[in-house]
């Protein structure tokens, strides 16, 4: 079975708090977490900085409860945008393991589902959905291997947000039939995290079936992680690693998401 992952831990400059959140996540059983840097491109002159090196946080990573391996920490970028021209894939995006987009308009949602090179599309949970979900961009996103994310921490903080979260989640499930959905926390404090089986149960509340609910925190998250990794490689086949000596390119066959597989066959 795939391991549990929590792909949304809000970045705070308070190192101690971030460290305690990651320790709680390891204690609850999550094998991988991703620190989320949010960038709002609607404001002028926003720069996308480099993510902080993960090794700065911990000397030794906390061990995941139930396994003997330490927790893995990734970096993720979330871009809040309303115009397709704001989103330009450039070298800064390569420094992050995962890239997500938070569309605020219908046009951007459609563009993000069909063309953008992202791994995750965030569904609004703190406000009423500004646009309706249509089946065609969602099906296009499912075929490309892009996932929709629902965050549950606002539901814990406030009852109005709870209603928005559940309403938006249910309308998403109606259109996507429970496929390609991941559920993540948006935790800023360690007491806002919940255990993986609790979240699988919450998935039932959102309209997912039992199997889909469990997949939303395990297999789908793993697929997102792999999707993000293959973005750094050339179509998922050539895999480069940093090493001490020169001559570092290695040929390695990797698990390729379906959307990229078609391109490889055409190239041959």
């Amino acid at each position: 079975m795939a391991v549990f992952m929590d792909l949304n831990i809000t970045y705070t400059t308070d190192k101690k708090r971030l460290r305690s959140v990651i320790e709680t996540a390891a204690h609850l059983g999550y094998s991988t977490v991703a620190i989320n840097y949010v960038v709002d491109l609607q404001q002028k002159k926003q720069e996308i900085g480099k993510p902080k090196c993960v090794l700065e946080l911990f000397d030794t990573f906390p061990i995941v409860q139930g396994k003997s391996r330490p927790i893995k920490v990734l970096n993720r970028l979330t871009v809040v945008a309303s115009d397709p021209s704001h989103f330009r894939p450039n070298a800064e995006y390569k420094a992050y393991d995962l890239v997500a987009v938070y569309p605020t308009t219908e046009k951007l949602f459609h563009a993000a589902c069909m063309t953008f090179d992202v791994d995750i599309i965030c569904v609004a949970v703190i406000e009423k959905q500004p646009f309706f979900f249509k089946r065609s961009p969602i099906n296009g996103a499912i075929e490309r291997g892009v996932f929709f994310e629902i965050s549950y921490t606002p539901a814990i903080r406030d009852s109005t947000m709870r209603r928005y979260t559940i309403a938006n989640a249910i309308s998403l499930m109606e259109t996507c039939k429970g496929k390609n959905v991941i559920v993540t926390s948006g935790a800023e404090k360690p007491l806002e995290l919940r255990g993986p089986y609790d979240i699988a149960n919450l998935g039932l509340l959102f309209g997912l079936s039992e199997g889909d609910g469990k997949a939303a925190i395990s297999t789908n998250c793993r697929a997102v992680h792999l999707h993000g990794e293959t973005r750094k490689t050339a179509l998922g086949i050539v895999h480069s690693m940093k090493s001490e000596q020169p001559l570092t390119e290695r040929q390695e066959k990797e698990d390729v998401p379906a959307s990229k597989r078609a391109k490889i066959e055409m190239a041959q």
């Binding site: 549950y152 806002e192 919940r194």
Partner: protein
């Protein structure tokens, strides 16, 4: 592929009916508070859970019967019992509960099982010599 010389046997079914399936589900929970010196009585804990159910599911949900079978005040751990139909409601209400008297808190569900016997052992607390 069907072969002409081998006769197909008629398919047989065997139906197993379990008479002893439990009517209840038992959950072992533990309350984690921000301020670690706060203590609750059993009545206060039940009140907290009922208010959480009521916030999420309304009057009907808040009236759903469940029992607090055991409660240890010093460690704030307890065992809840609920009918099978109400398990999802109770569990989701516990998950989304975030505050106790303006203090951050969270319920950690350690074990869930339809049988009380399974709650006695826990591989997380297993000590291997």
């Amino acid at each position: 592929m069907r072969r002409a010389d081998i006769q197909d046997e008629p398919a047989t079914y065997e139906r197993l009916v379990y008479k002893n399936t439990s009517v209840y589900h038992y959950m072992r929970i533990s309350l984690v508070l921000e301020n670690e010196s706060t203590r609750l009585s059993a009545a206060q804990l039940k009140q907290l859970i009922v208010s959480g159910l009521r916030d999420l599911y309304g009057e009907v949900g808040g009236a759903f019967p469940f029992d607090l079978l055991k409660f240890d005040e010093s460690t704030l751990t307890g065992v809840l019992r609920v009918y099978n139909s109400g398990l999802v409601k109770l569990w989701s209400a516990l998950t989304l509960l975030g505050f106790y008297q303006n203090e951050l808190c969270f319920f950690r569900v350690t074990q869930v099982s339809p049988f009380l016997l399974t709650l006695s052992g826990n591989s997380r607390e297993l000590e291997l010599d």
